[in-house]
Symmetry: C2
Subunit: 204 residues, 2 copies
Amino acid sequence: MNTKDRILNEALRLFAAKGYGAVSVEQIADAVGIKAPSLYKHYKGKRDIFNSIVKRMEEMDAEEAQEADMPEETAEANPESYEDVDLESIRIFSKSMFSHWTEEEFSANFRRMLTLEHFADPEMARLYQQYLGSGPLDYMADVFCALAQDRAEAYDLAREVYGPMHLLYSVYDGAEDKKSVVKSCCSYIDSFIDKLQAAEKIKE
Amino acid sequence: MNTKDRILNEALRLFAAKGYGAVSVEQIADAVGIKAPSLYKHYKGKRDIFNSIVKRMEEMDAEEAQEADMPEETAEANPESYEDVDLESIRIFSKSMFSHWTEEEFSANFRRMLTLEHFADPEMARLYQQYLGSGPLDYMADVFCALAQDRAEAYDLAREVYGPMHLLYSVYDGAEDKKSVVKSCCSYIDSFIDKLQAAEKIKE
DNA sequence: ATTATAGGCTAATGGTTGTTAGCTGTCAAG
DNA sequence: CTTGACAGCTAACAACCATTAGCCTATAAT
């Protein structure tokens, strides 16, 4: 890997662990294995590194969204795309979303960084809501709209499934046995989807 | 209010907004309306202020625990105290817990500070789990033990009710209309307890 | 009336931080 | 062979930080 990318990754690792303000440029340089001033050959300054991390995350997120078999637009913009989303897709999507924010190093560190910075910086607060707060919650509510009777019920379902997932992010970070937390989340998603599938069968 | 307490409160407000490392002693002093060196007449240093905040929170928490009509010991230590906990008590307890961590200024700021610091400091990580992570989760699992068939089912119930509450802490912080988030949480708790009460009636 | 204490202040210190200036070596292009 | 860009380095700086020393004043105690 080239130096520029190594700086980005090491900086993110440190920002995720201690927070932007608590990390010095020298610490980043140390982690990369160069001296602090050399870092300015690659980035304009500390803030520039930070901005590049956010940009990188946005790029990765855009790529990932294309690969997944789920609607990309909001329900308001394009309601038809949500009509044939079945429970099995939601099951797989939910699990891969949890894995994404825990087991993938870059995303997991980015999530921790957002958690640390979202009170300090209004822009970070926006990103936190978008990626981890009301964003996924609203998205899942859209997904459940076809299944539920009304918008309020869809929102209840979204909260019921995403709430525990969001909580398990915290538990994952504090756990020694990370794998078991992932398992625990998967079995929770399974039991939730199974319950909805059983309810659907009764309807028929 | 005396100066010592004003320092404590202003410091907590700033720590919650920017994080411990990003707040300077001068900023705290400014907020109180004195000069930075005067602050050392009341506290040994910046870390001492921080420690006093944690201590204060522990005191407040101990007081509050005594007032609530819920068991204080763990289920392992004293299983009998959990036997006659009824759903109505859980409903009230859950709502007051949410209100406590959002609408009470000191507690809400302390929660935000923990959220910011729990990656940086192992001691903060412990407190975060104790107050907001696995702590309340395990406690609620204990509470549900009398109602559920086994420990695993009790844990599922705990996760189902506390997960969305924990998520709504984040939503509360990012929301413009805070009151509506509190309402939304209360209605979620209501629907959850109502569902369990209905299930209990069928059993009889 | 004198003293002691509490709580404010200014000035200063030693350490750290982000950043710039300027030097050096490597290596590919002309 | 020369040139020039690239990427590292040391030295230095101005700003800021937590903290200390020491002074002043008002109030409470003796």
